[in-house]
């Protein structure tokens, strides 16, 4: 699918989709959004970028294999549960270390979800892309 229009517009869509996806990811705990939706948006942006360019361009843009993103995401999500274990609470009891800042381990967990979603979509997609 080698279309000049797609190639040109997708270069603009990619950063917009990534920034928007991060915005959606970060606002997710209080407003509609979150890791899953954010991951889908980012994956859609990357997919539009990669479809006219092929697999090699996708890997060199990501700098890692998409499968690595899946593993990293699952590890991050598990890591979000470790503090609760150290505090002798049930696994994945989310912690809010700062009294004033709205930052907790949920964010780490959500980033894990985000990465797994991106990695899964791109792992699947990368086998349909030409070299």
């Amino acid at each position: 699918m080698n279309s000049l229009i797609l190639k040109t517009t997708s270069r603009l869509i990619l950063p917009a989709a990534l920034i928007f996806s991060i915005y959606v990811l970060l606002r997710g705990h209080n407003e509609p959004g979150g890791g899953f939706i954010g991951g889908l948006i980012a994956a859609a942006g990357i997919a539009v970028f990669a479809i006219p360019r092929g697999r090699t361009a996708l890997i060199s843009m990501l700098r890692v294999w998409p499968k690595t993103l899946i593993g990293a995401g699952i590890l991050l999500a598990i890591a979000a549960g470790v503090p609760s274990l150290l505090l002798a609470e049930p696994f994945l009891t989310q912690q809010w270390p700062f009294a004033s800042l709205p930052i907790g381990t949920t964010l780490v967990f959500d980033v894990g979800v985000y990465l797994v979603v991106i990695g899964s979509v791109l792992t699947f997609l990368s086998y349909y892309l030409e070299n």
Binding site: A77, T106, V121
Partner: protein, 766 residues
């Protein structure tokens, strides 16, 4: 924490032992030795009659704890496992020097030993089941050590299937027992044994537990896997199939004996199958020339003897069981290792081709002789005491002539097998062998020599093992403190007469063994109709059934899969709705303005999908349906869901178009008229059913308990006001973790399948 620590040490050391093993270092034996010493420190405490119970919470909500229990019985087993384990690990480090995949082998062997320890020490039945199954898995890996050998694969699979099937029955028995007793704790179950024995579920528990134990301990007719498992390397045979794993079933029966020992069913099952196994093993042992298989069948005889002894009630039976158990482990491990040495040094283990080996291997010959004399039950070896006890139990507690005769036949076979292994190969004139043999090094000889000498030592000084191990273990098995003083000489008794008869008969058979064996081996009906062939027939039948149903269900066409799946879903849901009276209409009291518009949009886009003449327009039209549903969510107060739906739809269209770009999907619809009609029928059915289900759901009064809870708890407890996200990352975070793991695995699996498809197509093109 002591027992937990020892078990954990065994598990955690597996990588280290694997690393040392792949370099063939004799230090691998340090782990079992350390564990042996650790358990030996418990001896004074346990032999004074006390009981060590440790419990750590594991899954308290299900009544499953990481609880361990050391009494005479479990300590005896732990000492056997680690003691013989030390000999086996040391032996293996020399026997398998230079063999492939050693790291994996030692890791599996260590894990196997650890699982055995866990199983015999567990105080919680569920914990025991877990360890029990781990022994099945690790022994599968060990029997299948040479996967390139077809026989090894079959034997590994057979052993695994038989023992795991039995293990499932045992799990069912454990669950019934747990619910009958109200606890999974063995200690509590033993304390309330009268109550449990009187429970109406007791017969079911007995049958299920016995099934598990019989499969693991190779009772007839489930015995054939044990002899086939002899394809495993000899150290494995010595460890798994003489000393430890096959005794796990015996352990379970002995553990439960105090609860059920007065039940007629228990006695009949154990004594019946035990004596049947003795006879079957005896017949089969008489047909073999392969040293390891001869020993394996004699193990089956011994296991039958043990099960029969457990079935007999009374304290004497308990003493006889434990004594015979220890004696058997000592001499059988010794003789297995001797058989391995013969195999290793001469290149053959065909007993009919070997003689005069004592000239080459004097030390091995001496060890074999000592072990064989103990096995044959001659004084002053401990085997003599064990045999006398077996006869005494048979004569005094059962008074059944059948059992005594079965015991006599079994012991005659023991004498013959001992003579074959210990005398036949070593006595007489030298026979030519594929390799020129000599005594192996210390690492291989230490185990058999020590075990053989222990058989003699315990015979001369029976109090060494009698008061410290046998009496506490027998007490645990009988459920009451047992008073018994183990001694070698009982005076001139009927048992002595039987012993003399046994040895005389055994020697008579042995002297005419070539003729006997040939006659027995000529009975080919045993091969044609035995359980081993039955197993093959069952496996063939399973294969044929699976081929038949695969061809029936999996046609390979995606379109027909989708059609069938949707048809079944629609049909099942519709029938359920009609039969259960689920047809309801909600009241449309509220204004329908925006909903009506969306409904029209939905219908129009659905029709557009149906009318689409190529895939691209079909995908876009289907996307419109998805976006309309997303709008529906948005207007009905689920912005998060709408958001997700939008993203998923967009992504799906992008990806599907990318796939269509690569795939030969551009041609027009190729379905014939009948197929189109069938698809319309299915699609209409799905649509009608889905609508009816949704209407019925809407007609139900809304239950707001959950949403009220989340609305109130989300900000104070999870610091977030987006309920969906709060549930995903906080209240049900573990579910989400599972879901993303599944998602990632599915993507990786799909990628692997796609890579395979691509490779296949590119090869076809070439």
């Amino acid at each position: 924490m002591f027992l937990l620590a020892l078990t954990a040490l065994a598990f955690l050391s597996a990588p280290v032992v694997g690393w040392m093993g792949c370099r063939s270092l004799p230090f691998v034996a340090l782990l079992p030795l350390a564990l042996f010493i650790g358990f030996a420190t418990l001896l004074p405490e346990i032999s004074s009659g006390s009981l060590l119970v440790e419990s750590t919470a594991w899954i308290p909500s299900l009544g499953i704890d990481a609880a361990f229990r050391a009494d005479g019985l479990s300590l005896t087993f732990a000492l056997l496992i680690t003691g013989i384990g030390t000999a086996v690990f040391l032996y293996a480090s020399a026997y398998l020097r230079g063999a492939p995949r050693l790291g994996r082998f030692y890791t599996a062997l260590t894990l196997f030993m650890a699982s055995m320890l866990g199983a015999v020490l567990a105080d919680n039945l569920m914990l025991m089941v877990v360890f029990w199954e781990m022994t099945s898995i690790t022994s599968f890996l060990l029997i299948g050590y040479s996967p390139e050998n077809q026989q090894a694969r079959r034997s590994a699979q057979q052993g695994f299937l038989v023992t795991v099937a039995g293990g499932l029955a045992m799990l069912a028995g454990v669950i019934v027992l747990g619910s009958a007793a109200g606890t999974f704790s063995i200690t509590e179950i033993l304390e309330r044994r009268e109550e449990i024995a009187a429970h109406p579920a007791a017969p079911a528990i007995i049958v299920l537990l016995a099934l598990g134990a019989f499969s693991k301990s190779a009772q007839a007719p489930l015995h054939s896997w044990l002899a086939n498992a002899m394809v495993a390397p000899t150290p494995v045979s010595a460890f798994l199939h003489s000393a430890t794993m096959v005794k796990l079933g015996v352990y379970l029966l002995a553990r439960m004996d105090p609860v059920f020992s007065d039940q007629a069913l228990w006695i009949a099952l154990l004594a019946g199958f035990g004596s049947l196994t003795m006879m079957v093993g005896a017949v089969l042992a008489m047909r073999e020339t392969d040293l390891k298989r001869v020993l394996a069948y004699s193990t089956i005889v011994s296991l039958g003897t043990l099960v029969m002894l457990i079935g007999l009630p009374g304290e004497l039976a308990a003493v006889a069981t434990i004594t015979f158990l220890i004696v058997h482990a000592l001499y059988k491990a010794c003789l297995f290792m001797v058989a391995g040495i013969i195999d290793h040094e001469t290149g053959t283990r065909d007993s009919s081709a070997l003689s005069g080996m004592r000239h080459y291997m004097p030390v091995t010959a001496a060890a074999a002789l000592l072990g064989g004399l103990s096995m044959a039950g001659l004084p002053p070896f401990i085997g003599f005491a064990a045999k006398e006890l077996v006869y005494e139990t048979g004569l005094e507690t059962s008074a059944s002539l059948v059992l005594v005769l079965a015991g006599l036949a079994a012991n005659v076979v023991m004498v013959v097998v001992a003579a074959i292994v210990a005398i036949r190969c070593f006595a007489g004139d030298l026979s030519p062998t594929p390799k020129t043999p000599h005594d192996p090094g210390v690492a291989m000889l230490a185990g058999p020599v020590v075990l053989a000498v222990l058989g003699l030592l315990f015979g001369l000084m029976p109090w060494l093992v009698g008061n410290s191990l046998i009496v506490p273990a027998a007490s645990a098995m009988a459920g009451t403190p047992v008073e018994y003083s183990l001694s070698l000489w009982h005076g001139f008794t009927p048992m002595l007469g039987l012993s003399v008869l046994t040895v005389a008969l055994g020697m008579a058979v042995y002297l005419r063994w070539d003729t006997v064996r040939r006659r027995m081996a000529a009975i080919h009906q045993i091969d044609d109709w035995g359980p081993d062939r039955l197993y093959d027939r069952m496996m063939d039948g399973l294969q044929r059934f699976s081929t038949w149903q695969t061809e029936l269900i999996q046609s390979g066409s995606l379109r027909s899969y989708v059609a069938r799946t949707l048809f079944i879903i629609a049909f099942a849901a519709l029938v359920t709705l009609l039969l259960r009276g689920g047809l309801e209409m909600p009241s449309f009291a509220a204004s329908l303005g925006p909903d009506l518009v969306l409904a029209i949009l939905l219908v129009v886009s659905a029709l557009a999908v149906a009318r689409a003449r190529n895939f691209v327009s079909g995908i876009v039209a289907a996307g419109t349906v998805g976006f309309t549903v997303a709008l529906l969510f948005l207007f009905n107060g689920a912005p998060d869901l709408a958001f997700t739906q939008f993203s998923v739809e967009a992504l799906a269209i992008v990806i599907m178009l990318a796939i269509v770009g690569r795939m030969p999907f551009r041609e027009r619809d190729s379905r014939v008229r009948d197929e189109r009609l069938r698809d319309i029928f299915i699609a209409g059915g799905v649509g009608v059913t889905a609508s009816l289900v949704l209407l019925a759901v809407l007609a139900q009064p809304f239950d707001g308990r959950l949403s009220d809870f989340f609305r109130q708890a989300s900000v104070p407890e999870a610091h977030g006001s987006n309920l969906v996200n709060v549930i995903l990352v906080d209240f049900r975070a573990l579910d989400t973790l599972g879901e993303i793991t599944v998602l990632g695995l599915a993507a990786v699996a799909a990628a692997a399948v796609l890579a395979g498809v691509r490779r296949a197509t590119s090869e076809k093109r070439r």
